[in-house]
Structure formats: C-alpha cells, structure tokens
Symmetry: C2
Subunit: 371 residues, 2 copies
C-alpha cells in the first residue's frame, strides 16, 4: 500500500479526509483543496501522468427508487444529464482542482468551491485515489439537469466529474472506485445513497446490495427490448425534509412482504425484459409512494392519467417531484407525457414539462478528448 505525502506547497493543511466524511464540516477558506493527504484506499501506487490535456464527459440522469426499489435500485436515462469539461491547468496549484465555470439553468445555488460542489467533491476523491499531486486541474460543469427534480442531478455531476478525472489520467480506476468517489459526493449533498450515482456511472439498472463493503449488481435489460421513460417534472420544489419525514419508521409485516415480493418481481422483470411486469412492479409500492405522493400536488391524478393513457407503470422518480412512467414506444410516451402534464395542471395546479427518454445502457462516458 502506497503512502502519499503532503504536496510540496503545504498550502492547505486542513484534514480533508475527515472534513469530507463529516456531516458538519469545518468552514474552509479557499476554493481549492489539497489532494495529497493519505487516502484510505489508494488504488494506484504511482502517480499517473495525464494522457489528455482536456476531456469532456457526460453522465446521465437517473431514476432512483423505482417504486418498491426504494433506496437500493436505480436506473439511468439517456440523453439527459450533465457535462464536465476538465483540463490540465498550469495556473492551478499542482495536486489541486479549481471549478472555473458552472452553466445551465438555475445554477446560482451551486458553489464553485470544489469542496462544496458535487462535481468537485467527486473529482477530489478520484484525484486522491490516483494520488495526483503534480498536476492541477480546471473543471467546468454544464448542468443539463434541473436541481432537486428527483432525476439525480447531483449524482450526474459527480459521475461526470469522477469519470473525467479518471479519463484524463488514463482510466486507471475501476467502476467500484468511481462509485465510491461519487458516494463521497452524494454523502455530502443528499445522503449516503448510491442508487443515483451507481447507475449514473454504470448505466442501465443497478441494485445496491450493500455499502459495507460496497456491493453492486448490474441488472442487464435485454438489448433487443426498448424501454422508454416518460419524465414529467412539475414546477414545484419537493420539500426534501418533508419527503424524508413522510417515510414510516416502522412497516407492518404484510406490507414488508408485499414490497419485497414486488422488488423481486421488478428485478426479474428487468432481467427478463418483461416491460409489463416492470411497469406493474413500478406501480406497486405500498410503503413509500403512498406517503410521498400526497406531498406532490396532483401526483395521484398524474399516475392515474399515465396508466389510463397506457403506461405500463408510473411512480415518483427519486424523492420527486418528477413523475416517471414507462412504455415501449416513443410516440406513445409522448401522448402519455401530455396527459400527465395536463393532469399536473388540472389536479395539482402545477405547470409541468414532459420528456421521453430511453434507458441509458452506458453510463458516464468520455465525450471528447484532446492531447
């Protein structure tokens, strides 16, 4: 096991490892951070040189929970997500990273301090894993996902950043390490859950089996089957605290058995490419959705509208407020989306927009690179 030393500058001596894992981090003074403190699990023994001067990566939106898959299942959605551009930057102190730009709608809330930014935190973790102390990096984040919509916005940023750093240094790390880096980020911004960041990195459906140790199961949806997600996002800020508080602390045995069996059915439907079964499972949650749906104005009517329009199933995406329905046909998906938008307007008095996207089977990826 290699040991990493403080970078020559010793400009920041804050124990970052502790800060990053602490839920109440100490205030920091700059927008850059020292990455050269010891890593718990250094994945490479010698610092790799950058193989590109610049890379651009993409990471997809994700739908977590999926009804009875609450807190352990998620999947990636193609054509919707965040981009990260990353460059070797001699103006950035070696071993450090700087966030130069954040673009996209409504991104004013996002910090450019890498220690407080999901992309920054994940990037820092990957730099730590790689033991980077002689190269400075500059990161630019292009948000394609709205914040707080229930589509894994923070996970997409983290995934794109983790993959970007890994790619610029020659793709030395494995999936698991990238997910762990993403988890560090999620832990800070939305809780220690991998059900968005794992599918954002890996693509497809991912089951989080355990965290200690991290154990992920990729669930392959058959290549010859098509799966479309109808994502309908209302203009409504889901009250995260309320959403969490709405969860029951205790669950009666009949509901536990029911949801467990539906979770099993969901996994079987994914692996068997059974779209009707998948939709049915998606719609079947008796524990979380019944508590959360009433907190999103119109959600119950939206689900009803989706089912009446022929969706195979419908539920809340993540903690909402986006509603997700599934179908096997893009045009049908658009019709379903329109009716769901109408239902949000009628039943929830909310303006909403719909988009129809396919399952993403790839996950976070390199989009372009230059040497």
């Amino acid at each position: 096991m290699a040991t990493f030393y403080l970078s020559p500058s010793k400009s920041l001596t804050i124990p970052l490892q502790t800060d990053l894992s602490s839920s109440t981090p100490k205030p920091l003074v700059g927008f850059r951070c020292n990455l050269s403190l010891p890593s718990k699990t250094p994945a490479v023994t010698a610092e790799p040189p950058p193989v590109y001067s610049t890379v651009k990566t993409f990471a997809p939106a994700t739908v977590a929970n999926l009804g009875p898959g609450f807190d352990f299942l998620g999947c990636a959605v193609d054509g919707l997500g965040d981009f990260v551009s990353l460059s070797v930057d001699s103006l950035v102190h070696p071993g450090e990273i700087s966030i130069s730009d954040i673009s996209g709608n409504n991104v004013g809330k996002l910090s450019k301090n890498p220690l407080w930014n999901c992309a920054g935190i994940a990037a820092i973790e990957v730099m730590k894993m790689l033991g980077i102390r002689n190269v400075g990096l500059s990161l630019s984040l292009e948000k394609g996902l709205p914040l707080g919509s229930g589509l894994g916005s923070s996970a997409a940023s983290a995934a794109a950043a983790a993959v970007a750093v890994n790619e610029i240094f020659g793709n030395k790390l494995g999936i698991e390490e990238l997910v762990l880096a993403g988890l560090k980020s999620e832990e800070k911004v939305s809780g220690y859950h991998a059900d968005n960041v794992a599918p954002a990195i890996m693509g497809g459906f991912v089951l989080i089996r355990s965290y200690q140790p991290l154990d992920l199961i990729q669930l392959k949806f058959p290549n010859d089957k098509q799966l479309f997600f109808v994502l309908v996002t209302p203009e409504f800020e889901a009250p995260t605290k309320k959403m969490r508080a709405a969860l029951p602390a205790e669950i009666g045995m009949p509901h536990h058995v029911w949801n467990c069996s539906q979770a099993g059915a969901l996994v079987a439907s994914v692996l068997q490419g059974d779209l009707m079964g998948l939709g049915k499972a998606l719609s079947s949650d008796k524990i979380v959705e019944p508590r959360r749906a009433p907190l999103i104005p119109g959600m119950e009517g939206v689900k009803k509208a989706a089912m009446e329009a022929g969706a195979f199933g419908c539920t809340i995406s993540g903690a909402g407020p986006t509603a997700v329905a599934v179908t096997d046909n893009e045009d049908r998906g658009k019709e379903i989306g329109e009716l769901m938008v109408q239902a949000f307007a009628k039943e929830g008095k909310l303006k909403a927009y719909a988009t129809v996207k396919q399952l993403d089977r790839v996950g976070a990826r390199l989009v372009s690179s230059a040497r």
Copy 2:
C-alpha cells in the same frame, strides 16, 4: 360459462365450496365428497372423460422463504417428495374421490377423509375445475417427506394429487389452475401461501407476486449451472405457533430496505446463475431468521458450520426445523451436511440427518400411467 348441477345421486348436499374455503368447516360424515356443485371458475365446459385408468405422479419437496424471500419465494428440490397413485374406481361414487391408502413414515396423523387431507382437498378442487361428475376416483398417497420438517410436505401431497387428477383426465388444466387447487389445500392445512405449492407444481424457483389475482413468476436458473441443496433435518418438532409468533409485527425501515435489496439480489442471482450471490442472499435475512433460529436448538451453530465448511449460504428451510445450505458440488455438499449434523448434535443436542439434492427444474410430474 358452464353451470354444473348436483350429481344424480344427491347423496351429499353439504355446500362444499363454502366448507372448503371456510376456516371452521362443519364436521362431515363420510370420507367422500360431492364434487358436482358449481365451481367459481370452471376451466372446461364439458366433462372430460378419463384418458387413463390409472396414473402415478410425483411432486418434489420445496424450500420456501429462502432467507429474504420470506413468504413469497420458494424452490423445488429433486429426488425427495411424495407420490400419488390415482385410479378410476367404479366402486367410488361418480363425482367423488376416496383415499384408499396413505403410506410412509409417521403418517398416522394424516386423515383419509379427502376433505381433511392435503392431497384430497387438491384433488377435489381439480375435479371441480374439470366438472367431473360421472367418474369416481381412488387415491393412494405415498409420503416421501416427513411432516412438519419445513420441506413443503403438505404442498408436495397437494401438488402430486392435483397433477394426478389433471393427468387422468387428459391434462386439461393449466399451471395456474393447478396452483389454485393446491392453494385451497394449503389454506386448510398451513395457511394461504403458495411459496411451497407453486414450486412443487412448477419446479425451479417461483416468485409469488400476488394472490388477487394469482400472479406467479418462474425464475429460471440457468441449465448449465449446478445447484445443490444440503438439507439437514433434526429430530425436533418446530413449534409452528411459536415460529409464527416470533415474527415481528413491525419492521424498521433500515431492515426493510436491507431485506428488500437482498430479495432483489436473490432473484438476480437465480436468474444470472450466480451461486455465490445466491448463497450470500440466502444468508442475509435480518428480519425472520434472527427471530426463528433461536427457537431451533443449535441452528445458529449449524449455519456457522455450513459456512465454515464452504457452503455459499445457509438459512432455515420454510419455518424449519430443516436447515438448508447451498453449494455447487455434491461431494462438497455431503461434507457440509456432515458438519451440519455434527453441529446440531453438539450445539442443539439434536440428532439430525443430512441429504444432498439438486434443484428440481420440472415440478410435479406424471411418473407412470396405464389406459
């Protein structure tokens, strides 16, 4: 929809449909029953003639629960089970069934009244579904499974009987109807659960998705993979009431999410033929096994012994007292079994016997027939 009338004799006018579904049936006077009352779901519109004069069927033992699959998952075990011989018998009143013989170890408790015998109840249900009123049948039950061992003894009898009646009349009914017939039997003797009787009829792994309507998912374990069950049954009567009473009424959210994810992982492992994953899932239950294992003397030590001997996983079969471990090799299975038997002796002061059997992929089947 066909309507069935009372048989010409009108010898028994007890409303059987009601009696069979009632939890407190009225006492009956004979060992035969009238099958010609209306059936809720007549599956065939004309009474089929028998195509054989006699048939013999087999139905396998089953392992239900499988750790986190509590109350909705089960699988069949080859080479261990019950036989039913069924004959057209002119001495039996048309439309009725008689149990002529029950053989096997320790079967004294079993009633020969078809209304109170698992095989009889299932057979009656199938006769009802087929609308049999002109043929009398005689049934002989050969118990290969010990009662109350947690290996689906009642389900095996019911499955073998249901399939026998269906076969003797030309195999007119589908799997679902046979399972429903088996369920009628299970309802009466051990509760309305299909997690034994469905795999006993269908073979392999079966997920019970719902009862209203009955929705079953067959989970195909890859043909090119071997899966052995080490079944170790102690000489101990598991206290059924205590076993049920030991279940928690309420489950905390973290345990619910954990068990749900393990159930999903179990399903994925079966479909992907991932034996290590399957074993891990089998061993992972945090809700039921921790409550029930202490009620079976030595069980915790037996599980430990199985794992130390190289089993992929181990848990309680059904409600016990049989312990089930999984492995991919018969000889290894025998070694594991010996160590589990030793552990039952040492830790539970119980005599136990071990058997190693493969996954049954076929389910209840015709063994022989004569015209």
